[in-house]
Amino acid sequence: MLFDYLSVVVLLVLGLANIFGMMVLPKLLRPHNPTAQKLVAYECGENPIGTSWLQYNVRFFVVALVFIIFDMEIVFMFPWAVVFKEVYATSGPLPLIEMAFFIAVLAVGLIYLWVEGLLDWIRTIR
């Protein structure tokens, strides 16, 4: 059981070795001649104005926040889905009814976000 997870580590190490072989070893082959002009950040030929480590639009943050909420609930659904058949064989539609309640709760959350306008990308100020 636990031994199987070793193969994940093996694959990770092999991937790293591959990256090493691709990115580090060809250093022997390729030229290295950096000039100031070459190392300027690309801004369509102009010199870049200011840094780009700036504050960014908050909409992206809202998407991440909504994602975390829903993703948590998907994680709760996975075990339910795996045992659904077994539980159904004895207690019939009960698991389905329970999941219907769970989804109803989620749907309330989704409808709330929808009505609040948090799912709209283009927002009007209210």
């Binding site: 990115m23 889905a81 795996v82």
Partner: protein, 409 residues
């Protein structure tokens, strides 16, 4: 865990039946086998990646009424290899303003997040590195780590275009993770397991037992949601605003050059193939043959014959050697796979069809705007996926009937 799982089973046997192998350190042998399997998987990913890059350029060419790469090898089939060598000879540039450690670390993270998922891909009944009992969940978890690498790339570049690209790709990947996860649930309900081998075996018994053909209309709907979400997760057109060449210069990899850039590309194609492999496993019966008693065999042999006849008719003397090698590899691979390893052949065939679909979509659909994508994700796919779960439950109720005395109170 199953008995059928070849490599893993073998290592487990050696691991447990320790007595008869005194002459070898057991950990070493099991580890050695695992290492061989890992090297095979790595070779497969690299070979398939180069092949798909070529295939994409050919498809693009023919969709646009061009020829695509034609110079290196017969119909340019060695083009990607030449490009790879060229990229390795290129100078790698680290912008002065960039955050160098993050800048260097980003491509490996993106690649590894896609590559590690291959540990549980069931290429065949015996060809799977490890049949983890959380297979699908594991792939979803590792694949969604790639977005960290993308944000790192965009942020570390300290340039405006990569930042836009990274932010967009983060929003997109993260948002489409929801319908992606929800569309897997119906399959899990029917299969009753998370292990990839169990998922495939639950679809045993011919084409009509594949999840795609069961449980209409819920399963096909889940398949469509899953496929669309995968397009978004891998930043493919029509969801490629993250690296939209015509508006952002190159998206998150604007500042990357040479090998780092090619690692990003390799990661993208590895993720694409992984998505196709998971789709095949979940919905199209994995490596199982469609079992139409010989019809596809005859059809495909006829197609191969037509192809060879057509080649014979339009035979040029240019690049004959390369063409001969290509044709020989093709014919040998098909016959060998079909005869020796039909499961692997069917897996490759199904994933190949899905990959072709992805490539063809890229060159036929226009790019969506980000607000259209968010609308699609939150207001169409997510509610439909929710209803889909309940619908699959009702379908199961209809198929199996309600057991007696189910009400416990």
């Amino acid at each position: 865990m199953q008995e059928i799982n070849g490599v893993s089973y073998l290592t487990k046997q050696i691991w447990t039946d320790a007595t008869w192998l005194r002459f070898l350190s057991l950990n070493e042998l099991g580890f050695f086998l695992m290492l061989i399997a890992g090297v095979l998987v790595l070779t497969f990913v690299l070979a398939y990646g180069t092949f798909v890059v070529w295939a994409e350029r050919k498809v693009a060419g023919h969709v646009q009424d061009r020829l695509g790469p034609m110079r290196v090898g017969w119909h340019g089939w060695l083009q990607t290899l030449a490009d790879g060598i060229k990229l390795m000879m290129k100078e790698d540039i680290y912008p002065t303003l960039a955050d160098k450690p993050l800048f260097v670390l980003a491509p490996p993270i993106v690649f590894l997040s896609a590559f590690v998922g291959y540990a549980v891909v069931p290429f065949s009944q015996n060809a799977q590195m490890a049949d983890l009992d959380i297979g699908v969940l594991y792939i979803m978890a590792t694949a969604s780590l790639g977005v960290i690498g993308l944000i790192m790339a965009g942020w570390a570049s300290n340039s405006k275009w990569p930042l836009y690209g990274a932010m967009r790709s983060a929003a997109l990947t993260v948002a489409y993770g929801i319908p992606l996860g929800l569309s897997i649930i119906p399959v899990l309900m029917v299969a009753g397991s998370l292990s990839m081998q169990d998922l495939v075996q639950s679809q045993n018994g011919g084409i009509l037992h594949w999840n795609f053909f069961r449980c209409w209309p819920f399963m096909p709907l889940a398949f469509i949601i899953f496929f669309i979400s995968n397009l978004a997760e891998t930043n493919r057109v029509p969801f490629d605003i993250a690296e939209a060449e015509s508006e952002l210069v190159g998206g998150y990899h604007t500042e990357y050059s040479g090998v780092s850039f090619s690692v990003f590309f390799l990661a993208e194609y590895a993720a694409m193939y992984l998505a196709c492999a998971v789709t095949t496993t979940l919905f199209l019966g994995g490596y199982l043959p469609p079992d139409l008693s010989g019809i596809p065999l005859i059809l495909s042999l006829a197609l191969l014959g037509i192809f060879l006849f057509w080649r014979f008719k339009t035979f040029h003397d240019r690049s004959q050697v390369s063409e001969a090698i290509f044709c020989a590899i093709l014919v040998a691979a098909i016959t060998l796979l079909w005869g020796v390893w039909p499961y692997f052949f069917w897996f490759l065939a199904k994933t190949g069809v899905l990959l072709y679909l992805m490539l063809h979509l890229r060159w036929t659909l226009p790019r969506l705007r980000i607000d259209q994508m968010m609308y699609m994700c939150w207001k169409v796919l997510t509610p439909v996926a929710f209803i889909n779960i309940l619908g699959t439950g009702l379908w199961w109720m209809w198929i199996t009937g309600i057991p007696k005395n189910w009400w416990p109170y």
